[in-house]
Amino acid sequence: MPRPEQKEIQFTIDGREVRAIEGAMLVDAAKHGDVEIPFFCYEPKLGNPVGACRMCLVEIEGIPKLQTSCSTPVKDGMVVHTQTDRVHAAQNAVVEFLLVNHPLDCPVCDKGGECPLQDITFGWGRGRSRFIEPKRHFVKPLSLSPLVAIDRERCILCYRCVRFSQEVAEDYQLIFAERGAHTYVSTFDGHPYVAPFSGNIIELCPVGALTSKPYRFRARPWDIEGAGGICTLCPSQCNVQFTVRDETVMRVLARENDEVDDGWLCDKGRFAYQSIHVDERIAAPLVRDGGELREVSWERALSVAAGLARHRGRVGALVGGQATNEEGFLLQSLMRQGLESPDIDSRGRASVPLELGRALAAPSLQAAVPDLEFAHTVLVLGCEPLDDAPILDLRIRKGVRRRGVNLAIASARPSALDANAKLSLRYPPGTEAAFLAELAAALAGPPSSGDISALAKLLLEGGEDVVILWGERVAADALPTLLRIAERLGLSGRAGAGLLEVPSGANGRGLREAGVLPGVGPGYAPAPAGRSAAQIAAAAADGRLTALYLFQTDPVRELPDRALWEAALHRAALVVAHASVLTEGIREHAAVVFPAESHAEKEGTVVHPDGRLQRLRGAIGHPNQVRAGWSVLAEISARVGHDQGVLTSPMAWEQLVAAVPFYAGLTLQEIGGRGVRWPDRAQAAQMPAGSAPSAPAPPGGSASSAPVAGAPANGGLRLGSYRPIWASPEVEISPALKFTICRQHVELSPQDAARLGIDHGEAVEVSQLDGSSAAYSGEAGSQARGKLEGTRVHGTAAVRSGVPQGTAFLADGIAQDSANELTEAVVEVRKP
């Protein structure tokens, strides 16, 4: 969809000739003439203006009554006055009226000092009220949710929070109850407002009616400093502003960047900052001593880690999504050059061969985030934006609601976006290849009936700008077909169209570009072949690899096949880990644990899924004994005899730029606070071209057995997995988010639940059915097999109407009873 064209017009405001964009609201256009118009309810992020507060009244020549400038688009030749007596009288009156019931308890109000109502009352009010009547009173403060406190006396009924809930997040929970002077903000029946984006209303509220509970009374605006940063808790990489007081992060605010987050944050990003300053966080280096991890000096920990040198050639490394490009780059260099071990991976699920990876990352094929909003058609393939990259969920909703984007969803698991989609297609988990092959055939063949043909028709005829948002969960063998479909739709080289991959790690894309993939060096250069994550697990379990390096990842928790990883970590002689939380795999198996930095401390760069390089800057100093990740890597590197000559983080960046041809010439200054999309730069041509193998590639090292197409015959259910938005160790240790901690919810279709006699909310037990798969071979395999037989996952049944019959969905990435304990494609669900 072409973006709306912007035409300049000229209008007069307060006697000044000003140029502005046609159709812009007067309140915005006035800024071009240095005129400030006060407003409360106007917020362009929320969509169309509602004109609820009347604060923005102005006089327009030719219109007898005063007009709300927030909802009046500017026209050529308009003559506007904001300084006449009529306007002043109206502004005074509106302020006086808003304060009729306002308690003015600024000294105890958390908004005090950054309150638009204070500022506007001071700037545009009369300074004196004629009301002597008693004010309206409510009980206060009340909890609107575990995260948000509401003070109804302070609410000025501007509709912002309600509009957010109704039109942006579309959770439809917040409403105005009662009418007239009795109106108040509430949820239906007063249920807590629990939603993944609820924290945004705190920032939207122009008064202190909605305040953050974790930030409650923590600081005043003059006590704090703002530090720009990036949230690296998920691949959305929202731009944030850390509020810092006394070297402590007190809250996280959105730092609006249209190209990335549109000014919103999810509650994970907004509240999980608490994990930076809790006791559960690892504060000092730990070394295993007599079976127990004990705090030791850095010197001791580094010397233990330097023992990696004795495992030269037999080290495997896994890098988690929170690592920066620099850390990834240093680690791959340490592995490949320092330890002569090419076994390094950052893709946990399927490994993608070099050529295919290049083809998928081709700059001409990359869609940008705003394209989701302006495309004709968006196809969400095999991912759940709400869980995998929450902010993209809001972006897609915006596109559908405001720009009429055709949304199609093809996934195994029902999606939160189904209600907005023109078409929602389900396929059995793991059968993306078959599904895409059918879609490719439908795109090529003559029109026929059926869901897939309807999808093909939508993609072909809905308009030429098509964006395919796909997730890392899409099986590797489906990717060549995906490329063929992109080619068929002509997505390559088309501005506003393309593919957008949501990796499972926050900086998944950057790590791949930095060479953290087996057989792929920095800048997608060929590198000596190495093992993928699954192969590392198998090799470590049977002793071919003797040491493991876990950089901010815990495979026991994060990756498929928990039993195999446990066996691998158990057998490995030396496990070096960087972590901020002692998750199970680290606690049980690591020999050395280096305290990892949080995203508020890191210095470095990350790459957004759409290719935008963004910069992390230290908002606070390192607490306790934490040291920078790059410096630890550089130190270990030097100790194993491979001095990388890195003394600062920018030096690592310079080495990275030198190694990655398509970053050439980029400086940290240029990246700045807004980021730079490298696929838009001329140097993107340096990206080596890839090619899709014509025959579907064999599933590269993925441990899962062949997916089952039809409903399993033996009464079992196909196993699908999903990662809930809250499934992260940072969330678990954040006190404010304790209420979100994920337990296993086994999603079942109503038919299966009825057949199995399971009710919603009942406890269930999931066990493996098919024991004959050949995933395990060799001596270590049979060891792991023994464990596997008795595997039982306990959870609560969640009967969900959209779940296709014959499939059960289990959460993975959670601390207990995670789906990654199950390795078979078919499971049995029953009451324990």
Partner: protein, 177 residues
Amino acid sequence: MSYNPGEDVIEVVRGPAPGAAAGAYRAFGETLRGLKTTFARIVEGPTTIQYPEEKTPVYPRFRGRHKLHRFEDTGLEKCVGCSLCAAACPADCIRVVAAENTPVNRVSAGERYAAVYEINLSRCIFCGYCEVACPFDAITMGHDYEMSDYTRSDLIFTKEMLLAEPIERTPLRSEGE
């Protein structure tokens, strides 16, 4: 070439040589005039204040060491921890960290109270802005001006020190004095 001083020539102007009468007046006249004042004051008695045994009384509006106040009836602290004093302070010497009152731990009358309230008196310039800024008259400037100490850190007054009834060491000037 001879040196030409140009315009830099300085002319020294001398006064006329003093005569005998004028010299005598200069030697004694002015001295006697000064002594007249001295002898006139002698009869008034000494006015030196023997500090520290004796102290200068201060005016009622004298701005000395701060005091924090409680409500007399309930005993709750007046300060709600709003930090306005900290915002007003030009020397940036007040630090407030607020916290929330709970039914079991009610410290102030409002929703919040000052969990930490510190004034660094070695930086304070006694301007009194904090007193003016406070919406609850919780902080006022007292009369105490004896605040010397041996270490700087002892001059950071905590909430407890500011709330405690100070030992009144400073006499107040009576009305009209």
